[in-house]
Subunit: 262 residues, 2 copies
DNA sequence: CCCATGCAGGCTGTAAACAATAAACACCGC
DNA sequence: GCGGTGTTTATTGTTTACAGCCTGCATGGG
């Protein structure tokens, strides 16, 4: 089939090439998904990296030019980000990177505590009596890796496995909508705050909480697992708020020198 | 300001008018919001009314013509609906109205039970010691209206106030993200199942549960309120599953004569 | 010196054209 | 008759163009 001039994808027709850095998107990533999807990922990266700080406006034409696509996919991505809660769009004004207020962040932690707690309880029930289940082994491995990271003071590694541990629990609990909601809100927290809160000292405490939680889950004790999971999340909130209080780099919309929504 | 030819909005330039029924959208609704928003609402109405049954495909050009707008806003609305979980889009194939499987519906009920339970607990704490709070009065009124509806066998009225009661509780609990998630998933359940499950007999039972729940909340008893709210939601799930089991009109994707995704 | 008004520019909202994919159909060889 | 293949057609993905809105600045009046 398709004995057409082969077209060679769409890499050839872009004569006005490298306008700037992030480009080169069209050529590789567009492989098997709508462009809007790739653009959304690119925008998320820009937000995470701080290139688009909270309060900044997403200029459609500028971003389109920068990514080497037209405004359509950029618009689509912006609306998707709005649904994800990362930006807010105002009629005829455009999309702005949201600033996560302290109040809202605290509420998200509260929500996450309930969700994570229930996931832990569900998982404990699922694993009850099946200590040899593959999920159990996986969780044990993850915690073991975190132990090593703590010993070595490897912050990045700990962060990664910490996120993985939480993800695995909500994954294994079996409730898909719960998993989706939890991950969505966790990502919101991660993207919109500067992740400078978890000092090395807190790493030890957090890991100890992980051990207690995992023990309850593996013992099949649903309610203790729920309590430990909730307590762990609320402890995370406390760490976050404490870091903010002592002049942490986050939340307050006043320190963004960029244009921002009224 | 704005002493321009007054333009009269954008109602004048559409000479090729009434293509079909649902139209007339552009002229009125577009008042102060992007068209995509209005289109999304229109599509939701079409889904709820059954004009777009589960499994049906959303033809962009057809819908655009029918609503009297171009494909852009329709696309935007379709993507928004995907984020809401009402449709799934497949690359180069389009958007299809989702069919809510029994499994997933049950999981959503489970999630909602936890969320609603926590909302009730939070609200109980908030109202603890403040029996005269305006929220308390509002809730009492809603339940009173439901009492009357039950006596008169007014199903529609009961449904409306039932939804309102739940909405008020998550509203008053003070946690905005929790409220958003709960309402989103509740709407998903409402839109994707034929709401034929709640027979008149169940109405009485549900209302009794409302009374118990409200009593706990007003008494400031957080944990009992949580238990009642969870039980109420799970009872709703049981009613739903029972209705399905006895040949209810829902869920199974096999009975949709329309084209559907593979 | 301060404030309101008029004006210009940039940017978004919407529409319509263009390109490419995927499904459906008809045709051909076996 | 049947499976495979080439072609057609409808529909989506993307780009480009146009119209209106909002904002910022300059200008004139109080």
């Amino acid at each position: 089939m398709s004995h057409r001039p082969a077209a060679g994808g769409r890499s050839g027709d872009e004569t006005r090439e490298g306008a700037s850095g992030v480009s080169a998107l069209r050529d590789r990533i567009a492989a098997r998904q709508p462009l809007g999807r790739s653009v959304k990922a690119a925008l998320e990266a820009l937000i995470e990296s701080g290139a688009l700080p909270p309060g900044a406006r997403l200029n459609e034409v500028a971003l389109a030019a920068r990514l080497g696509v037209s405004r359509g996919p950029v618009r689509e991505a912006a609306r998707a980000l709005e649904k994800d809660g990362l930006v807010t769009v105002i009629l005829n004004r455009g999309a702005f990177v949201r600033t996560l207020g302290l109040e809202e962040a605290a509420q998200i932690y509260e929500l996450n505590a309930v969700l994570f707690g229930h996931a832990a309880a569900l998982l404990a029930e699922r694993l009850s009596g099946r200590a040899g289940a593959p999920e159990a082994a996986t969780l044990r491995e993850t915690v073991a890796r975190m132990d090593r990271a703590v010993e070595q003071g490897a912050l990045e590694a700990f962060f990664a496995d910490n996120a993985l541990f939480h993800r695995q629990i909500v994954e294994f609990c079996g409730n898909q909508p719960l998993r989706a909601v939890y991950l969505e809100h966790t990502r919101k927290l991660l993207l919109l705050r500067r992740r400078s809160f978890d000092a090395a000292g807190n790493m030890r405490a957090a890991n100890a909480e992980h051990h207690r939680l995992l023990a309850s889950i593996l013992a099949g004790a649903a309610e203790p697992a729920r309590r430990h999971a909730e307590a762990h999340t609320r402890a995370g909130r406390a760490r976050f708020l404490a870091a903010i209080a002592q002049g942490g780099a986050a939340a307050e919309p006043s320190d963004t020198p960029h244009e921002q929504a009224p």
